[in-house]
């Protein structure tokens, strides 16, 4: 039993990281008022680009993660052009981008022969004697570098959003672009950069799935994690630390699935695989019930394009 729990906890953080980073990226976009349904697609782009960098450029794993980020940010330029500059419907553009990324990644993955090729990937980095602590050692101090980095990344972004002038302007753009505009904030520039930065984090989340955990590229390998991240942002009420807590919860559930079978417990495999989606749905319902009648937390201008010379 102890072994089961130890192995479960040891895997939890690695499963939590993609959710955490993707949700953080989404929070950056959405706090600036851009509804980003693109997460599933940009995670795929990051995942493929990471593996591609390893296979084609012989990049070390950390550099591969950076390539994943850059690739997602590059594709996000197209999305930002559509919704920030051309001010298209953000739902339509977001969905179209997901479909685009799904098609693009499976095309490129197949065309370059990167599909189903195992790679080295990130290695574990035990933190000296801490890693030998019972239970917690494996769970917290024997992880790969990105797991350790996630905390400082969250701290930095949370500080940026809530304490810095840049964050104040960014949130103003998401709450009231008119007020931000009147205050001399360049709404278009802020939204554009927020989309790029957020998408880079989403790409990092995707690259971590392929380069960090799975160490392989398979078509559509994110299997809905992007959508779960979107639900996670709603659950977190657009706050970074709540998103991190939610991500760890989801990591717990997802890491449980393979371990139940390995432990010899009789549970139908596909019913177990359903679990993350059912739990996500359950969390969304629970949030909705718990917060009925209260004012929403979402940025007031979320999903609304800003046109200054609109006559009202």
């Amino acid at each position: 039993m102890i072994d089961f729990v130890a192995s479960w906890l040891a895997a939890t953080l690695a499963y939590a990281v993609p959710y955490a980073l993707a949700a953080l990226g989404l929070i950056i976009c959405e706090r600036a008022g851009v509804l980003s349904l693109t997460a599933e697609g940009f995670m795929l782009v990051g995942a493929l680009a990471g593996v591609g960098a390893v296979l084609a450029l012989r990049a070390p794993p950390l550099a591969a993660l950076a390539v994943g980020m850059a690739a997602a940010a590059l594709v996000a330029v197209l999305f930002a052009l559509l919704v920030v500059v051309l001010r298209l419907n953000q739902v339509v553009a977001g969905l179209a981008m997901v479909f685009f990324c799904q098609g693009l990644t499976s095309l490129v993955g197949t065309a370059f022969g990167w599909t189903s090729k195992a790679i080295g990937g990130l290695t574990r980095l035990p933190l000296g004697p801490l890693a030998d602590l019972p239970l917690l050692g494996r769970a917290l101090f024997n992880q790969d570098i990105l797991v350790y980095l996630t905390l400082p990344i969250f701290a930095a972004i949370a500080w940026l959003l809530t304490r810095s002038m840049t964050g104040l302007r960014l949130r103003a753009v998401g709450e009231s672009p008119e007020a931000a505009d009147a205050a001399g904030v360049n709404v278009t520039a802020y939204r554009f950069v927020a989309v790029l930065a957020g998408s880079a984090l989403i790409g990092l989340a995707g690259a971590y799935i392929s380069v960090g955990s799975a160490k392989i590229w398979i078509q559509d390998m994110t299997s809905g994690r992007g959508w779960i991240a979107i639900a996670l942002v709603i659950f977190a009420r657009w706050r970074p630390w709540r998103a991190l807590a939610g991500a760890i919860l989801f990591g717990c559930i997802e890491s449980l699935v393979p371990r139940v079978a390995a432990a010899g417990i009789q549970a139908p495999r596909y019913v177990m695989l359903m679990l993350p989606y059912v739990v996500t749905l359950g969390v969304m319902v629970w949030m909705a019930v718990a917060r009925t009648g209260r004012p929403g937390d979402e940025p007031a201008a979320l999903g609304q394009p800003h046109v200054r010379e609109e006559r009202r």
């Binding site: 349904l37 197209l78 559509l82 051309l86 001010r87 298209l88 419907n89 739902v91 339509v92 553009a93 969905l95 179209a96 981008m97 479909f99 685009f100 799904q102 098609g103 693009l104 499976s106 095309l107 197949t110 065309a111 078509q219 299997s223 809905g224 959508w227 779960i228 979107i230 639900a231 709603i234 139908p268 495999r269 596909y270 019913v271 695989l273 359903m274 989606y277 059912v278 996500t280 749905l281 969304m284 319902v285 909705a288 019930v289 009925t292 046109v307 200054r308 010379e309 609109e310 006559r311």
Partner: protein, 352 residues
């Protein structure tokens, strides 16, 4: 100081609208063609693969029409939900449940052989409605975002399907993950003249939907719901009823698409019969501007694309994912064109 100014365009003329759509679709196809050429398809062969080999060859044309039936159904299904402001991205989940329900009727031999096929169809419709009812209820009662909930439910439906196909419903004759073949009378027949009854079913559904949305009082009210539920409610439009009906209809159409694929094309429940239809359904509805009749035409074009995609795969080793990429590029181009529909860009002289 001269400057570029962006205005909100309040009304665009119909010819401008049509020309813009045509130009954007053409631009999307041109970009796609460039990608194909870059991938090694000789430019001269493009026309052959997309037009000659799909339309001017009797067998290929037959395949295209066969392929078109489920696409028409998912496209029309997406369109009717979008008209009711319900983002149904659960088309694949509803297809899966439609196919599962139809297969259940076959597996458990419910009803006499004469009625078996209609019963399978009915079961599919009911299952599709039931599967969309949950996100609909969650949206109406608790304001749970239906984009996310319908997408998550797709993964649930997929795992239910795999659970059945790798378990109780696996064909005992072999070890592949598919159900036993349907009996002859459980399959949608080919009508005299080589026309698939699936296509007839799809066209009948589109005709009914066109009447419902364009000619009936329901459609009149639906237009108000689409324009804005709050105003519609103030004006006495039965918003809830219209929304629920349109959404259930959407689920049943998607489920019907699942039914016709398993009952006409595959002849059994398989593990990937639905792949790509969800995306296509959404894109068809978008390009058809949610008009059911236009959706049928766009679906036919997408069917040609599917057929051409299969040819490209065979002859030029272009992955089939290219089909989805082309669709996405065309839709992005068409969406980008909306910018000019909604805005007017002009130079002004400014202070001088």
């Amino acid at each position: 100081m001269a400057r570029l100014v962006l205005d909100i365009r309040r009304e665009a003329s119909a010819p401008f609208h049509a020309a813009l759509t045509a130009a954007s679709v053409f631009a999307g196809l041109a970009i796609s063609a460039a990608i194909l050429i870059a991938a090694g398809v000789p430019p001269a062969a493009l026309a052959d693969e997309f037009v000659v080999a799909t339309l001017f060859d009797a067998q290929s044309l037959h395949a295209v029409l066969f392929q078109a039936a489920p696409l028409i159904m998912v496209g029309a299904g997406a369109a009717i939900a979008f008209r009711a402001r319900f983002w149904n991205l659960g088309l694949e989940g509803q297809m899966i449940w439609g196919a599962i329900a139809a297969t259940a009727v076959s597996l458990f031999e419910i009803g006499p052989p004469m009625l078996r096929l209609p019963l399978m169809f009915l079961a599919a419709i009911v299952a599709g409605m039931a599967w969309i009812a949950l996100p609909l209820l969650l949206k109406q009662r608790l304001a749970v975002n239906e984009i996310v909930s319908t997408l998550l439910l797709n993964y649930v439906a997929l795992n239910v399907l795999l659970h059945l196909l790798y378990g109780a419903w696996a064909d005992p004759k072999d070890s592949f993950p598919h159900s036993p073949l349907y009996r002859g009378f459980e399959r949608l027949p080919e009508l005299p003249g080589g026309i698939s009854s699936a296509l007839v079913l799809a066209l009948a559904a589109v005709a009914a939907l066109a009447w419902l949305t364009l000619a009936s009082r329901f459609g009149f009210h639906l237009r108000f719901v689409q324009a804005g539920p709050a105003v519609a409610r103030s004006l006495g439009v039965p918003v809830l009823g219209v929304t629920v009906a349109a959404t259930l209809l959407s689920g049943s159409l998607a489920a019907s698409a699942g039914f016709v694929i398993v009952a006409a094309q595959e002849g059994r429940l398989t593990q990937s019969f639905f792949t790509g239809y969800g995306v296509s359904g959404v894109l068809i509805a978008f390009l058809a501007r949610n008009n059911p009749a236009a959706a049928a035409i766009v679906a036919l074009l997408v069917a040609i694309l599917f057929a051409a995609g299969q040819n490209l795969q065979v002859f030029y080793q272009i992955p089939f994912a290219m089909v989805q990429l082309i669709q996405a590029i065309v839709v992005i181009a068409a969406a980008a064109a909306d910018f000019f529909l909604r805005h007017r860009v002009r130079w002004v002289k400014g202070i001088g």
